[in-house]
Amino acid sequence: MGSSAKKKKEKQKDFQKAKLKVGKAKGKPENFTDTSFKTKGITLTQQSLTLTAPSIQSQFTHHVSLLNSKSDAQRRDSLAHLTTHITSKPTSQPLPQPVSTLLPTLSPLILDASTNVRTQLLKLLRALPPADVEDHVVQLMPYIRAGMTHLAADIRVTAIEVLSWLVEIAGEAVVSCAGGWIKTLNCFLSVLGWHTEESSKWSANRAAFGKAGAKGRPMVKVLGVLAEFLHAGIGEDEDDEDVVMGGAEVESGYGSGDGGDGGFPIVQADVHMVPKTAQPYVYLNLFGSPRDEEGEMYETREERFRVFKSRFLVAVERGVESARQDGGEVGRASSSVSKVLKEARGVDWEG
């Protein structure tokens, strides 16, 4: 019995209350950890002692480097900073860093996990001078395509938006760059689920895998961008007439007809001139790896339409038809695609 009494006492000990006394310091709690330490001196490894604030130039560079930061918030803030900087400066002034150095750090952000970063990125992209972006479409396209087929629906939507912006500012470059036509169309079909007959039926399991995403009605948006894309690729060149000479030369050499500006003996001089684009001989593919059919450049509308007709026309028509039958907003969006298709056919008949 003795042991039992002892045990009781021991148990009691755990619940004894410490007595508080006036004028004495309150006792430390049981789980208190002493974190104080002594040191002879404190050394700061890095210390900025400049009196002047960092220049705008260096701030810009600093924020560009922060785009690879691990923290979401940091990336977002840096993007915001860059955006305000670009938008606030007068348009005549060049960017502190050229677009060609900015894009390699910006483009991976299309696949960023954070929604805020991606929205901010879109804003920044829109702020970039369109003429500069046009030459770097080739580098941007793989990221966009990767985004379009991403498992996460939100990233797909962002990629579609980026593509929409890119088509808007440099439609011709998008559809004629290497791999820009077939591969991108493949991605479109994959996003819409139009690849096979079964999957394009209205009864097919549309949201097969992955979360549907927070932004509603991605289908409508995708259809809209598809229409824009197709229009840029195989639509009518309605801007042929009102484009100044330089642009016309780039877009379609012989489209400008026999309104040759040279002297009489030289008819259609621009065809024989060196093209004025940034990379005139890129189609020769002198330095890249050999391309297959999918990665090839399709530079003229005719070529593109031929490929489209042989590979995608059936699937797209089938898809559009089923989308039309869906009705509602999707149906309305599908009408824009079918309009482009009709247009393209019309041009083809003429040509």
Binding site: N68, P108, L109, I110, L111, D112, A113, S114, T115, N116, Q139, P142, Y143, R145, A146, M148, T149, H150, L151, A152, D154, I155, G179, K183, N186, C187, S190, V191, G193, H195, T196, S199, N205, A208, F209, G210, K211, A214, S289, G295
Partner: protein, 744 residues
């Protein structure tokens, strides 16, 4: 701490493993998702190919994860992924130098996975991995690649030998070794070949040829690798085989019993199935005929040429860069080849001349090599000066005892192989050392003496010859062997069979000792029956050849009968018209008898089986200590330790520590001292057995027993009686449950 809530908008999902799982279950429904991921992979690959060395992690999903995913489900969509293996191969071969280590390993792993799924053939895989193995500077990658290559070769040879693949691989290795003899790349060929040799996947001459070329290389590491293979590869192989054969035995009965007792789960039933399968497989393996494996030294095509070129290239050549240890290895190989194949290399023996001094480092190895290099076809003129030199340099009163015993042992080993290398006066001098005070020298001297008592007692002084040798000499049984004289060969163990048969016959005769009158007729019948038995067995054998052993063992077939008169009654005679020839020859020597058994009779399969059995029995008996020492196998090397012999004995008294260590050697260390009961109890607990009732009673909590103990005092007499009665009753019955079964 409250878990921080992620806003629904922030969360992004990219769950490739989940998708992979779903695709595995239902590939057809998820084809669109897979296609999307394939495009995703294509885009990422494009990004990667544009800048292979860039280390940008692209968002949620990296190329590595995509490759992993595709490799795992590629077999579900072969049409979509038909280019995938080739793309991986291209990435790896073009960029393996700058790839990130993780991605690199993932690609290698994925390729192997694709090989397992049969989307890639072995030859392509090996052709991809092997060049990288040779050229990559990364150690981890090399280790990984080596392991994968080995695994692939093993798995493709697992069921049946894949001759085609082996041949191409061996050709690749051979070309690698021969193309550039100065480079150390050949080491990989050696490593691979040795490993595969060890596992008995490559057992043919081509693999040996690779090693042969390696040992003739200019790079010293490669040379040593090749030479070591010949010296130790076969031993390694044997050890590996032993290891694999004595895996822990599975007690099937125990496993089944446990399943009967414990809870039945699917996992446990699977374990039983597995155990059954293992046992069955082992049984089958046991019954399989032993694979015929020749040692590497026997598979050489041209041992003479090989030994000569090894000798001239690495040993005689003054410009050879090998150090002494490496040279010794080469020398061991050369001398082993010489001894085994009885080769003759002109300058080999004169080469030894300069190394045979006691001051030469590792001279015992040289002595062992010399002994190894001598065989009965070496001209005695070549060996005699060497023996003389050893005797002069090593064996003298002035030299240390270890040196003397090593010299004597070396001379003995040479004389075992070529007795003619010894002359009479030298021998008689050397034999005197058996009277030395030092034990090592004494034993070595005795060894020499007993050797010559056997092989050529005439060279010894009369009083040294001993009884057996003297008698043998007088009867003319022991004669000096002439140079290059060969013994007539026979079938090993045939005399054992002969003896066994005789015994059997005697037994039989004893059995039917009464009915031995009508023997001749019976024998005729027997004869018929024998041939019939042979034929029947033959037919059966063609059905399943596993039953060779079951052939009726005492059935014999004779062709002629010019023998066996001394076996007593002519019980197995075939044709009586040949009887005139049959004469007993009691003076027939043993050899003649044995040869007759083989030449006059067709050995039935039963005979051969018995012969094998007797042979192994004899081999086992030879290994038992106490019986006359086991003879050395031809393939076994002679080591320096054997030459040093009993030198340890002559090293003076051991110190106290050494003696203690020696005494402790055999004993296992016991951690603590305990009573026998305690130990027994511990053992019982270890085996998972329960306690006895007595122990349970002893361990029972005191408070639980208290009440009963108290109440016992208060019982009335009647109660006590009832209790005692009940106890007695129980004891008769045999406990509370009773021995019901035992009574009935």
């Amino acid at each position: 701490m409250v878990k921080r809530k992620l806003g629904a908008l922030e969360k992004v999902e990219a769950d490739l493993p989940n998708l992979q799982h779903k695709i595995r279950r239902d590939p057809k429904s998820y084809i669109e998702d897979f296609r999307a991921q394939h495009y995703q992979y294509e885009s990422h690959r494009e990004i990667f190919m544009a800048a292979p060395s860039a280390t940008t992690e692209t968002g949620l999903i990296s190329l590595r994860e995509l490759i992993d995913f595709l490799a795992h489900v590629a077999d579900c969509y072969p049409t979509i992924t038909k280019d995938f293996p080739q793309q991986l191969i291209d990435i790896l071969t073009q960029h393996h130098l700058i790839l990130q280590p993780e991605l690199r390993e993932k690609i290698v792993g994925s390729l192997v996975l694709l090989r397992k799924k049969e989307l890639l053939d072995s030859a392509t895989l090996l052709q991809t991995l092997f060049p990288i193995l040779i050229s990559t500077p990364s150690k981890t990658l090399r280790a990984l690649l080596f392991q994968k290559i080995l695994m692939d070769l093993r798995s493709s040879n697992a069921k049946t030998t894949n001759h085609k693949l082996n041949r191409t691989m061996q050709t690749v290795l051979f070309n690698m070794v021969t193309s550039d003899r100065t480079s150390s790349k050949g080491l990989w060929a050696i490593k691979l070949t040795r490993e595969l040799w060890k596992r008995q996947i490559w057992t043919d001459a081509k693999a040996v040829e690779v090693m042969k070329e390696a040992s003739l290389a200019d790079n010293d590491k490669v040379v040593v690798g090749g030479v070591r293979f010949f010296l130790g590869g076969d031993k390694e192989r044997e050890e590996m085989e032993d290891e694999s054969s004595d895996e822990e035995a599975i007690d099937l009965g125990k496993v089944k019993h446990q399943v009967g007792i414990n809870k039945k789960t699917r996992k446990k039933s699977r374990a039983v199935e597995k155990a059954k399968a293992t046992v069955k497989r082992r049984e089958r393996k046991k019954n399989q005929p032993h694979p015929l494996n020749f040692s590497a030294l026997h598979l050489l095509h041209d041992p003479q040429g090989y030994a000569e070129s090894l000798f001239s290239k690495h040993l005689q050549n003054t410009k050879s860069k090998l150090n002494l240890d490496q040279k010794l290895l080469v020398l061991q190989l050369v001398t082993r080849l010489v001894g085994l194949h009885k080769l003759h290399i002109m300058h080999l023996y004169s080469y030894f001349q300069k190394y045979l001094t006691p001051r030469q480092p590792s001279v015992t190895s040289f002595l062992a090599s010399l002994a190894q290099a001598s065989h009965d076809l070496v001209p005695p003129d070549d060996l005699e000066p060497l023996v003389q030199k050893i005797a002069n340099e090593f064996v003298s009163e002035a030299s240390a005892s270890e040196v003397a015993s090593a010299g004597l042992n070396a001379i003995r080993e040479i004389c075992v192989r070529q007795p003619l290398a010894m002359n009479e006066t030298l021998l008689q001098d050397l034999v005197m050392y058996r009277k030395s005070k030092d034990k090592g020298v004494m034993m070595a001297g005795r060894g020499l003496l007993s050797l010559f008592r056997e092989i050529n007692p005439e060279m010894l002084k009369r009083r040294d010859r001993g009884k057996d040798a003297s008698i043998g000499l007088r009867s003319g049984e022991r004669k000096e062997k002439r140079f290059a004289e060969q013994e007539a060969g026979g079938i090993e163990g045939l005399e054992l069979l002969e003896k066994w048969k005789e015994e059997e016959r005697r037994k039989k005769r004893a059995e039917k000792g009464l009915a031995s009158d009508a023997e001749d007729d019976e024998d005729e019948d027997d004869e018929e029956a024998d041939w019939a038995a042979w034929n029947v067995e033959d037919d059966e054998d063609s059905d399943d050849s596993g039953d060779w052993v079951n052939v009726q063992s005492d059935v014999e077939i004779e062709l002629s009968d010019s023998e066996d008169e001394k076996d007593g009654p002519p019980s197995k005679k075939a044709k009586s018209n040949d009887d005139t020839k049959a004469e007993s020859k009691p003076e027939e020597t043993a050899e003649a008898k044995f040869s007759k058994l083989a030449t006059t009779r067709i050995l039935t399969p039963a005979d051969l089986a018995k012969l094998q059995e007797l042979r192994t029995e004899a081999a086992v008996n030879a290994l038992v200590p106490g019986s006359k020492g086991a003879t050395r196998h031809r393939d076994d090397p002679l080591t320096a330790e054997e030459i040093e012999g009993l030198a340890a004995l002559s090293a003076g008294k051991a110190t106290r520590e050494e003696r203690i260590a020696h005494a402790k050697e055999g004993k296992t260390d016991r951690s603590e001292h305990k009573s026998v009961t305690a130990k027994r109890k511990e053992r019982k607990e270890d085996q998972g057995k329960s306690t006895t009732n007595k122990e349970k009673a002893r361990k029972k909590n005191f408070l639980m027993t208290l009440r009963k103990a108290k109440s016992k005092n208060k019982r009335s007499l009647v109660q006590t009686r009832a209790v005692l009665k009940a106890h007695q009753d129980r004891a008769k019955r045999g406990g509370r449950r009773g021995n019901v079964g035992a009574v009935a």
